[in-house]
């Protein structure tokens, strides 16, 4: 057992209507890599915000290195040696790496001194980063390095990392893990928050599991099976998605040289995408967000019309058809952004059911809406997909992310699509809801629909796809059978680690 660095004792924090943390106690040892596990809403964020001085607990206290630790604000936490890398970066695109780092420091030295310091630290920990580059040009992985180095420059004794790998390629994850192990070897403790249990098993030496704000278990992730940890988080036995062996069906959707210019300044152009999907098949498309996923979905849904012969559906060219024509024919999509794109936040679930259901479900007659039928359809979705809500008259905004996602996916699946395209089906959704959504997608394919799943979560894609391909900078790789693909192969398909670029520049 290592010496204890940070002790949490009986931390409780209540918000109106919900207890975010209930009597949370555990220890983090010096140099320990400690995982914090839990579903969305289990109270992980509140807990780390408490440690980082953003939230004051209602009761309970913390001890750091044997001394009472009650930071009033993040600056106090940083002075005490606690650093945090947030899931969403807070960097200025137009400034250089060094300037960004200076801005985040409490007692900044001159930018020139910082540049030297950044080079030293980045060499030391194997995090290639050029201090003079503009942040706007960096990849997500490189931006994260900026945040990490900003923390490391303050010599932290505890580094909190919130979902650090969600934006990284497998190679970048490897680089990050090497760095974290090195830090740990030097005595810096790491509190690591992630949904990805395989990563936690590979990296962490201890884990604390939160459920509904309370600690329900502690375990050693190196010896506990990921499945058992997932069940501890959820509190119930998880159903793995099952699927029947499917014979290859008829050709359902074919893209032939699909190209499109970027729809706006920050968009990605689609470049010569050619792929075919058969009925009953699940095609997984992997890749880090921002590589053309949104544009691909828009080209398929009809929101961004392309040349007619670039998209073939059931043997006819549909690339220039409007949204509702495609929908009427059975080509349905579920975009990534739930609030504001897939659903209107301030409209009721009935209205949102109508939003895409009006065409195929016959919810309008001669332009006049049939509200009773729409309400009935909304109720069917709520019942069929276990959407937790008091009823269809509630607004989309009032649902939690996972519940709204179940509603959005359910809305399309209940319309019996022939081809279903879904972008990030389980993004920000807790484990139980994610499993239910994946199962629904597989059942849909079993019933003879062609399904295209676009996701950043490679584990998810490996679990449900028949074939896998990668989308990088608007180009789609050749699809390969998903069974038997190794992480390295996937990584190569995704275009490898972005640090190749950096090494190139530094040379």
């Amino acid at each position: 057992m290592r010496d204890t660095l940070l002790t949490l004792e009986g931390l409780t924090k209540a918000y109106p209507g919900v207890v975010a943390n209930r009597d949370v106690s555990f220890d983090i040892g010096k140099g320990e890599i400690h995982a914090l596990l839990g579903e969305n809403g289990a109270g992980k964020s509140t807990l780390v915000k408490t440690i980082y001085g953003l939230v004051k607990p209602d009761s309970g206290h913390m001890t750091l290195d044997g001394r009472r630790f009650a930071p009033d604000d993040p600056a106090a936490a940083r002075r005490a040696g606690v650093g945090m890398v947030f899931q969403h970066f807070s960097l200025f695109d137009a400034l250089t790496v060094a300037e960004n780092i200076v801005l985040g420091m409490d007692a900044p030295p001159s930018p020139r001194a910082i540049a030297a310091e950044v080079r030293r630290v980045s060499d030391l920990y194997g995090l290639p980063l050029d201090p003079d580059r503009t942040v706007g040009d960096l990849s997500a992985g490189e931006r994260q390095r900026v945040e990490i180095i900003r923390c490391l420059l303050q010599d932290p004794r505890l580094l909190i990392m919130d979902e650090p790998t969600s934006v990284l390629t497998p190679q970048e994850v490897d680089i990050l893990f090497t760095t974290l192990r090195k830090l740990s070897g030097e005595g810096t403790a790491i509190l690591y928050i992630s949904h990805k249990l395989s990563e936690i098993a590979a990296l962490c030496e201890a884990a604390t599991v939160l459920r509904l704000g309370a600690v329900v278990a502690t375990c050693d992730p190196r010896t506990t099976a990921p499945r058992d940890m997932a069940e501890l988080m959820v509190g119930q036995v998880l159903q793995s998605p099952v699927r029947a062996a499917r014979p290859a069906g008829r050709m359902a959707l074919e893209l032939r040289g699909l190209s499109a210019r970027a729809p706006h300044r920050f968009g990605t152009a689609l470049r010569d995408i050619t792929v075919a999907v058969r009925a009953g098949e699940v095609l997984g498309i992997g890749g880090v967000a921002g590589n053309g996923q949104d544009e691909l979905v828009a080209a398929l849904s009809g929101e961004m019309p392309v040349a007619a012969d670039m998209v073939w559906f059931n043997g006819s060219p549909v690339g220039s058809d409007p949204v509702n024509t495609r929908r009427a024919n059975g080509l349905l999509c579920a975009p990534e952004e739930r609030l504001g794109h897939a659903a209107a936040p301030d409209m009721t679930l009935t209205e949102n059911a109508l939003l895409t259901g009006v065409t195929r479900k016959g919810l309008a007659r001669r332009g006049f809406l049939r509200w009773p039928q729409a309400r009935h359809f909304a109720q069917e979705i709520i019942a069929g997909f276990d959407v937790r809500t008091p009823g269809p008259e509630n607004t989309a905004r009032s649902l939690s992310g996972g519940n709204l996602q179940k509603f959005v996916i359910g809305r399309e699946i209940m319309q019996d699509p022939q081809v279903f395209v879904v972008n990030q089906p389980t993004w920000g959704v807790d484990a139980a809801a994610a499993a239910a959504i994946r199962q629904a997608l597989l059942t849909l394919a079993d019933n003879g629909a062609a399904v295209i799943v676009i996701s950043q979560d490679l584990d998810e894609l490996m679990e449900i796809s028949d074939r896998f391909c990668a989308l990088t900078e608007g180009r789609l790789s050749e699809p390969r059978p998903a069974r038997g693909l190794t992480v390295d192969q996937i990584g190569m398909m995704l275009g490898g680690a972005h640090d190749m670029e950096v090494a190139h520049v530094a040379k």
Binding site: G302, E303, P322, G340, A344, D346, M347, L355, L369
Partner: protein, 353 residues
Amino acid sequence: MPSQVWAWAAPLMAVALTMLLGGFLFAALGKNPVSVIRTIFWDPLFSEFAWFYRPQILIKGAPLVLIAIGLSFGFRAGVWNIGAEGQYIVGAICGAAVALALYPMDARWLIFPLMVVAGALGGWVWAMIPGVLRVRFGTNEILVSLMLVYVAEQLLSGMALGAMRNPDGMGFPGSRNLAQYPSAANLDLIAGTGMHWGVVFALIAVIFAYVTLSRHLFGFQVRLAGQAPRAARFAGVNPARMILLCMGISGALAGVAGLFEVAGPSGQISIDFNVGYGFTAIIVAFLGRLHPLGILAAGALMALTYIGGGIAQSQLGLPAAAISLLQGMLLFTLLAVDVLTNYRVRFGRREVA
């Protein structure tokens, strides 16, 4: 999210607040605030001479409601037509042009309906200019529609002094009086009630808008386009078509309102034909929460301030600008009350994020 109750309580509070602030304003002008407020809001309805003023409320309210109903479609969909005043003028010119061209033919069954169509068409065309420019070239419809108001005003004076001048008018500016041309006149349907065709059209527009917004797919798409533009595209709404439709509806209704005004209460195309209904209707639309029934109520209230303001002007010597100020204050307080129902004012330091 403010509750449903607050959404409707806010306009009422704004009216009360406006009376209060207006009271201070009138006191500062050296008038007795209580008597001024009573003159404006109470006398037109309940005084000894209310029989004279009540029809006036219908006459003033009808164009406001007609225009505001049209604007409410665009405002709900995020299409900002600020130039209803111009569309109102052009509608009046086009409608009057039909009547003047056919003068003195005696065929009311033909001429009056034709004038209504011409009025709607005129307003529609004037609104299509900013609409098409927006769709084609991405210009800002707020600026273009607003600037076209001034173009329309020039057109109006050109007509009043030139092409449409009354040949029997002894050189005075202004057209023939349409109210005295039986085939074209828009007079009270029942004498002395103020109930002319414009009032009928305004009520039909209210019902039409109510049904469309609550029961028709187009109304649903209008609301969707305003609340969540990306979701609207995903639902198959064509943004360009939505812009043109909303501009078209508001332009046509403003044009019809102009026609009814020129054929009845005003009677002729004159230099000072327009009195700002197109701008006041913007206040009416927002005060009515963009809801057809709300607009009906707000239109009546705003008409009241016109009538009551007129009385206050003649009886108490209040300057006309004070009434315009009061009307503007209504929108201002509504916006202020809305901000305060949606957000809480907090003093002191911001928490570190």
